[in-house]
């Protein structure tokens, strides 16, 4: 594959046994890079969506009282407070069935609210760009409705976002390690090639070949091997991504909302083999130039 890039070569680099393993190593590294990059991009989308979805919303919770007949009175009092707050665009009392559904992952299936005293939850949405002091709102609500609380989601959101950022940092580190490993492997392979073909390189040098002429033969070879290995890694990585996407799709969308790759994410992932091949090409070229620079 990609042998057309080699054209005519004065050095028999295509017969080097030591470089035969390079496409497989690059394939493995691109496979890992595809997974790391896809994971990073997906988590980035998830974090953005969580952030957008939760900012500007809050939840008011009214604990159930011992006398259930008081609950409606307490709810109306809370709604009055909310209605008098300018920053609030709209609010909606969650139905018992929706509250039960939210509790289902922790408490299992519950037929109706008679089996369990349920808190009353109010979904609140702020005006776009409006700033609300949730602590002050909580104090106003508590004064009218003892046992009420306000959750602006920031605490758990920050924890989740921090978790995602940490995973993203790790994925970035994996990509950096992959880049370093590619560079190291190509340097090793190129140096071995320089040693194996020392005699031929010396002849080329003595008949007047510029360093760039010799380096070009190594860099073309590295590009060819890099593209071969890179696309092999991509061919292995894409089905893996699709498989992971399928498994995630079967999970509850609450924790992993819309975990999928957008079109531009696929483009970025598809460019990885080319990126790795270019890294291999540039590394080979610089290694040869550096080595030849020590000759007269």
């Amino acid at each position: 594959m990609f042998k057309f890039l080699l054209r005519r070569s004065d050095l028999p680099l295509d017969r080097d046994a030591h470089s035969q393993f390079l496409p497989w190593l690059i394939a493995f590294m691109v496979f890992l890079a595809v997974l790391a990059m896809a994971g990073m991009l997906m988590l980035n989308s998830v974090a953005e969506r969580w952030d957008q979805g939760v900012t500007g919303t809050l939840t008011v919770q009214i604990a159930p009282s011992e006398d259930s007949s008081e609950d409606d009175i307490r709810l109306r009092a809370a709604l009055t407070v909310l209605a008098s707050t300018k920053a609030i665009d709209r609010y909606e009392v969650m139905s018992d069935s929706r509250v039960l559904k939210l509790l289902e992952p922790w408490l299992g299936g519950i037929a109706n609210s008679d089996e369990l005293p349920l808190p009353r939850l109010i979904d609140v949405e702020l005006h776009s760009g409006a700033v609300l002091d949730s602590k002050q709102l909580a104090e106003r609500l508590a004064a009218k409705v003892p046992g009420s609380s306000v959750d602006d989601h920031r605490v758990w959101l920050e924890r989740l976002v921090n978790l995602i950022r940490t995973v993203q940092t790790l994925a970035t580190l994996v990509l950096v390690f992959i880049a370093f490993a590619t560079v190291g492997t190509v340097i090793f392979t190129t140096r071995t090639g320089l040693a194996v073909h020392r005699e031929a390189i010396e002849v080329l040098h003595l008949i007047g070949a510029q360093d760039a002429y010799i380096a070009q033969q190594f860099s073309r070879r590295a590009l060819s091997l890099g593209l071969t290995g890179g696309f092999l890694g991509l061919i292995l990585g894409v089905p893996t991504l699709i498989g992971i996407g399928f498994l995630v799709g079967r999970m509850d969308g609450f924790l992993m909302p819309g975990l999928h790759l957008a079109t531009y994410h696929w483009v970025i992932v598809g460019l990885l083999p080319i990126g790795v091949a270019v890294i291999a090409m540039v590394t080979a070229r610089l290694t040869v130039l550096r080595s030849l620079g020590q000759m007269l």
Binding site: D10, P12, R15, V203, L206, I207, G208, Q210, L296
Partner: protein, 282 residues
């Protein structure tokens, strides 16, 4: 031979060379190679002939002294300009140093390709030159499948394909018989006649004595320059430089070589082409 002009192709001034911390193999070497000159570089084995040639074709740096090639002081010439100087020097290496994985054609084409010649031009010139050295039917052959003489001709073709101004040959007669040795020498003389400055390292004193060109004599690292001289007449000097056995072969070879330096020799199927075609080429 063309009259040597005053312009020096290469100039050495008090050049010394040592390998690592070892003793100096070349000491205070000073000489100039006038344009169009022909010199034999002679000396015992280990006298430093190959080292001196390596300094000329820029494979080594001197430990001290000044080397000037085509008017460029090598010590101050930027490294990236050295390949251009090397391209003006053709070298016939002692062990040929052909690239065994390449065909005869590709070996000869190397100097043109490294200088960026277009492939059409490369094909034309290499085919012509290989035909001229009698290897048109071996263009695709790899060096290991060629005889020593054929490899040598590939090596010579590679050395002259880029029309060098200076041709260096390290022991070109070391691996061939006397007949072929004489033919090679006449070939080098022909190239010299066409304007190429030539330096031949050899320890074949018979050839040196019979051709009478200028000599660079190396002895224990010191160089002495001897000017060209008339070809000695054995009858006058009473000295025979060659054995009786060699004399017969050489008489045949030399007579044929002088008459036609590129022609056939009795019993030899290795031929050079018409000198006129070389003249056109160079």
């Amino acid at each position: 031979m063309e009259a040597a002009s005053d312009e020096a192709i290469a100039r050495f001034e008090n050049v010394g060379l040592r390998y690592g911390l070892g003793p100096e193999v070349l000491r205070d070497v000073s000489f100039a190679l006038p344009k169009g000159s022909f010199h034999f570089l002679i000396g015992e084995s280990g006298a430093g002939k190959s080292s001196l040639l390596k300094l000329i074709y820029l494979a080594l740096k001197p430990s001290r002294g000044l080397i000037s090639l085509f008017g460029n002081d090598i010590a101050v010439t930027p490294r990236q300009k050295l390949p251009a100087l090397r391209r003006r020097v053709g070298v016939v290496f002692q062990e040929f140093r052909l690239l065994n994985h390449l065909s005869a054609f590709d070996n000869v084409a190397l100097p043109l390709r490294v200088s960026g010649a277009k492939e059409g031009l490369v094909r034309k010139h290499v085919s012509e030159l290989l035909a001229w050295v009698g290897l048109e039917s071996h263009m695709e052959a790899r060096p290991p499948t060629l005889s020593g003489g054929q490899q040598q001709r590939v090596s010579i073709a590679r050395a002259i394909i880029a029309r060098p101004r200076l041709l260096l040959a390290d022991e070109p007669t070391g691996n061939v018989d006397d007949v072929m040795g004489f033919r090679l020498m006449h070939l080098f003389e022909e190239l010299n006649r066409l304007g190429t400055t030539v330096v031949i390292a050899t320890h074949n004193m018979q050839v040196v004595e019979r051709l009478g060109h200028g000599r660079l004599l190396l002895d224990e690292g010191f160089l002495t320059v001897k000017p060209p001289r008339p070809i000695p007449d054995p009858a006058a000097t009473g000295k025979d430089l060659i054995s009786d056995g060699e004399k017969k072969a050489l008489a045949v070879a030399e007579a044929a070589a002088v008459a036609d330096p590129f022609g056939n020799f009795p019993g030899d199927d290795e031929t050079f082409g018409d000198p006129a075609s070389l003249e056109n080429y160079l």
